[in-house]
Symmetry: C2
Subunit: 235 residues, 2 copies
DNA sequence: ATCGTTTTATTTGTCCTACAAATAGAACGA
DNA sequence: TCGTTCTATTTGTAGGACAAATAAAACGAT
């Protein structure tokens, strides 16, 4: 499992053993793990090593530690790790494109969820957002307005995990617009010329009128610029 | 940010500061961080604390450490953290349903990707998989056959991140079939009675014949049992 | 006897020192 | 100039010490 450039430290090993320990015994949130001293004895390593390993699991939200009480297993927030490493500066273009791809797939894929969860209140909130957005140039909204609209769409879908995932990967779009602006403009112009642009207003309208099938088609069209971005081999 | 039940340890604080340090300076993979001793001095904490924080970032794949060379920033594998905490035993039902939801959304959402990436080779591989699968009861495949088919579908979509995400959340379906089997049977029967079942053979056929629009509809139908599972409030 | 308070023992959080192991870079030599 | 050896630096691991928190036990008053 270990590649030739990484060495497996004792902390790595202890960490893996603890994770296995939890899985193998089918432990559940609320159950306790052995104390640091017991772990030191069973693994035959220094307390430092055990503490490094536990520190990692603690960060991931897999355990909680309290003096005297010991180490308690908790239901982990699933995206803690992703959130911490999500820094577009560190990503190569391929990764950025894959994030775009994920976003397209999710937003197309949640269409059914939206219409299943649709409430008057949510629609009104979406109307508010659409009403307040301003074009900064022709058919071009500010990043913030874009984010606000799409975030609300995810909210309507109602899946907390997907909502969080969207929140975490949002910065990718700010980043892409800042760094690859030129890649979006031509597609937009082309779409406008052929009168194919689907605006937020259009999407809102379809949601309000409960036109599920039309929405599924429309959201795909709306996302075409991103699709072009990830398909463009020359960027 | 700190809730009333969690205390922010020094390691938590140092970890956060290092992450900000990387973001604020716009550091990139290959760049180096200060040495442990320098961090000890700048933060005024013990080496232990610094090491706990770096140990976490190391685990996430954000940095690499080597004697004499110091601490080097790397492009982080995005799903390291999720992979480590992904243990269905620890999840409440709501979380399991959300994972199901994610899977449905993704699999519906990647339809366009599949037809964009479709190659003769991949189609043949999918044919192989479908040819080798065996019914364990009427219209019911083994978990392994299910996995093999859908994993190949994700592979056809070609998005590495989504492929990894699918690999990580796979255990949820094994888990759900083992623990909530009874929730799938009635839906399946109902679908069979109304002759609405879409099999893997049907999906393969649509892919082979390049019938993109039909596939988009078919995959939604194919996933109805899962949809019912997550919509069922009484489970 | 019960309830509230104090004490005690345990456990994690932090600091420190020491040494081993790896290695980048300098010094050296052919 | 190139390959080798040496040196200094840096991370990895060990172990000891004490502080802080707190669960559980002991205690005391009503």
């Amino acid at each position: 499992m270990q590649t030739e450039f990484t060495t497996l430290t004792l902390a790595d090993q202890v960490e893996a053993k603890i994770i296995s320990y939890i899985e193998d015994r089918g432990l559940k949130p609320g159950d306790t793990l052995p104390t640091e001293f017991e772990l030191v004895n069973t693994f035959g390593v220094s307390r430092n090593v055990v503490r490094e390993a536990m520190s990692r699991l603690r960060m991931l939200g897999l355990i909680q530690t309290r003096p005297k009480r010991g180490i308690i297993i908790t239901e982990p927030p699933l995206l803690n790790g992703l959130k911490k490493v999500f820094n577009p500066n560190l990503f190569k273009l391929q990764t950025i494109k894959e994030m775009m791809g994920l976003r397209i797939a999710l937003e197309v894929g949640i269409s059914d969820f939206i219409f299943n969860n649709r409430t008057e209140k949510l629609i009104e909130e979406l109307e508010q957002i659409v009403a307040q957005q301003k074009n900064i140039s022709i058919d071009m909204l500010s990043v913030e307005d874009e984010m606000r609209f799409h975030t609300k769409i995810y909210e309507m879908a109602g899946n907390q995990f997907i909502i969080q995932l969207n929140e975490i990967i949002q910065p990718i779009f700010v980043f892409a617009r800042q760094n690859y602006q030129s890649n979006f403009a031509p597609v937009n112009n082309q779409l406008r010329d052929s009168n194919e642009i689907i605006t937020h207003e259009d999407l809102l309208c379809l949601i309000r009128e409960n036109r599920k099938n039309d929405y599924r088609e429309a959201i795909r069209t709306h996302l075409i610029p991103y699709w072009e971005f990830i398909s463009n081999k020359t960027v």
